[in-house]
Amino acid sequence: MTYDEERIAALIAALPPAPEAWLKAAQELPAARRSLDHIVARAEADIEFRKALIADLEAALAAEGYEPAERELEEIRRRLQQS
């Protein structure tokens, strides 16, 4: 395949960067998952915490200093239902 410089330039331009916040959120996935695992493990060990999470998930997490994204909230809800 031959490449002229105009075509190379067009192909570089074809992939602009994704928004920085999207990139950062995806890059921080391992840390977010660790935090989520910690919350679920704590809910399994502490019945009061579990009750508070079930009553008002966001408020209970905020009171403990967690600020999960909507996707993580859904995952916590799902795992609380399963546990």
Partner: protein, 183 residues
């Protein structure tokens, strides 16, 4: 200059729990996933963001199941396409799809994005100066002045640097395609 790790190396490191490797993998494929959602499937910004996050969440969860580490790129492409199609089917464009648009998967754009990713991979193997100047000018659409300020270069030298770096990138790409060594 050290060459960037191959896709296989990166996947193996991610699987071993290396979070720097995960960040690099996301960085490497982020534009591709973004491009597929926004350009090939023309999703809204909000839908594209959901697909972007869902795609990388699934990659993270299922990396252990990938049979061939070198196949991470087509796997991510296929995953993104499926997520986009599911989103379109479930969303407000359902009616359009029912009217016969379902077969109109934007193959030409996907092929172009795939080729663009290969060019970006070759670009990643160039010196930092070339990488920065070409990416800023063409992909980020920055002016000579902005690039000059960011890289602490006189704006007047940016055009010649772009030209030199494009020629270098062309050599790399043509070397790759003819089986020769890259730079």
């Amino acid at each position: 200059m050290q060459a960037p790790p191959s896709d296989s190396e990166l996947v193996a490191r991610c699987r071993a729990g290396d979070e720097d490797a995960w960040r690099e993998l996301v960085e490497r494929f982020s534009r591709y996933v973004y491009g597929i959602a926004m350009q090939a499937f023309r999703l809204s910004e909000a839908d594209a963001e959901d697909i972007f996050q869902e795609c990388f969440a699934r990659v993270y969860e299922n990396l252990d199941r990938l049979r061939d580490d070198a196949a991470v790129r087509p796997w991510i492409a296929q995953l993104t396409r499926r997520l986009c199609i599911d989103r379109i089917r479930a969303g407000s464009r359902e009616q359009l799809l029912e009217e016969g648009d379902e077969q109109a998967e934007p193959d030409a754009t996907l092929v172009r994005l795939d080729e663009a990713l290969s060019v970006h991979e070759a670009l990643a193997g160039l010196s930092g100066d070339c990488r920065e100047v070409l990416d800023r000018f063409f992909a980020r659409d920055e002016s000579y002045r902005t690039i000059g300020d960011a890289l602490q270069l006189p704006a007047g030298t940016i055009a010649s640097r772009i030209s030199r770096c494009l020629a270098k990138l062309r050599e790399v790409l043509e070397g790759k395609n003819s089986g020769g060594s890259a730079v």
